[in-house]
Symmetry: C2
Subunit: 159 residues, 2 copies
DNA sequence: TCTTGATTGTTGCATTTGAAACTATTATCA
DNA sequence: TGATAATAGTTTCAAATGCAACAATCAAGA
């Protein structure tokens, strides 16, 4: 085995980075222009909007995000009035995060845009093939599996 | 169609970002610890090591990188003695970039590490499935197709 | 030729990022 | 109980990032 065998074009980290960059950048224009949101802020909002109230650590786990990025995104979303915190009685270190009514309106709008974008991608690449690829890629993210709100101490789901 | 139909877990930008982050982060530890390289630096080096001498713009096109990131990565690699520039006579705006001997040694080492990493991933996910996913994802990156050194004004390929 | 416009690569500047340090709280165990 | 370790989240600080502006060169057409 020699380094000349190293094929950049089939090296998964490379291909994934390019694909992620391309798709994310295209969709980012929408939420950046409409709401001035950062990629991290959108990711936090999307998790809360889709899965309901949860803790910052839970967002980290689900979204493969770093806690510092989540912390700042939460702060920014709170400033904009789209997110509210509620202290947890079961553990006073954590807080229960959820979208406000205004935040939900923003998510609803962007969710629709996301559906459009997704539809366009699938039309181009083929629905079944996309599904297969996604199923494969999700196996790469170890902590992503436990989807149910199993260990979620936030009861009052905002969705 | 309502925003509640928006499924984060099958939204391609999300899945791709998570997968890219997971795989890149894991592999980044290697070149960061061994050679103190940035992700951008590694990407530039990988393109030069794999495809031989080329221009900065060509690296941008191939790697889906921004020119400012490439510019700074080139500068850093040059400082470390792993990259050399040679002015092009056909166009004095561009420079022909290639790895030095020392740079090639670094690439050889990291290329082997990349092969190991790739092998491990494919063992885990299945070779054929990975190939299919990669073929699909490459169709997402429009400028990535023209692979041959068609319009490459750098003749003296370093590889 | 001269002018206008496009392209290559760099730099300035403000924002974003991530690793490590930190506070506050909870868990473990002698 | 009390001591130690682990965890949630924030902050700090240096590095990385990206957009815009820029200088240098090339291309196209009057």
């Amino acid at each position: 085995m020699q380094s000349r065998d190293f094929d950049l074009e089939t090296f998964l980290p490379f291909v994934l980075n390019q694909a992620a960059e391309t798709t994310s950048h295209a969709f980012a224009e929408i939420y950046q222009k409409r709401y001035g949101m950062t990629r991290g802020q959108w990711r936090v909002m999307a998790n809360l909007g889709r899965f309901g109230a949860m803790t910052a650590t839970e967002i980290c786990r689900r979204g493969q995000l770093e806690k510092t990025k989540v912390s700042r995104a939460v702060h920014a979303l709170e400033q904009k009035g789209w997110l509210s915190r509620k202290s947890l009685e079961s553990d006073r270190r954590s807080e229960c995060l959820s979208l406000t009514e205004a935040g939900r309106a923003v998510f609803d709008d962007l969710g629709l845009a996301g559906l459009d974008y997704d539809r366009a991608l699938r039309d181009r690449l083929g629905d079944a093939a996309v599904d297969e690829a996604i199923a494969l890629l999700r196996r790469l993210c170890p902590d992503n599996q436990g989807d149910g709100p199993a260990s979620n101490p936030c009861q009052d789901a905002g969705s």
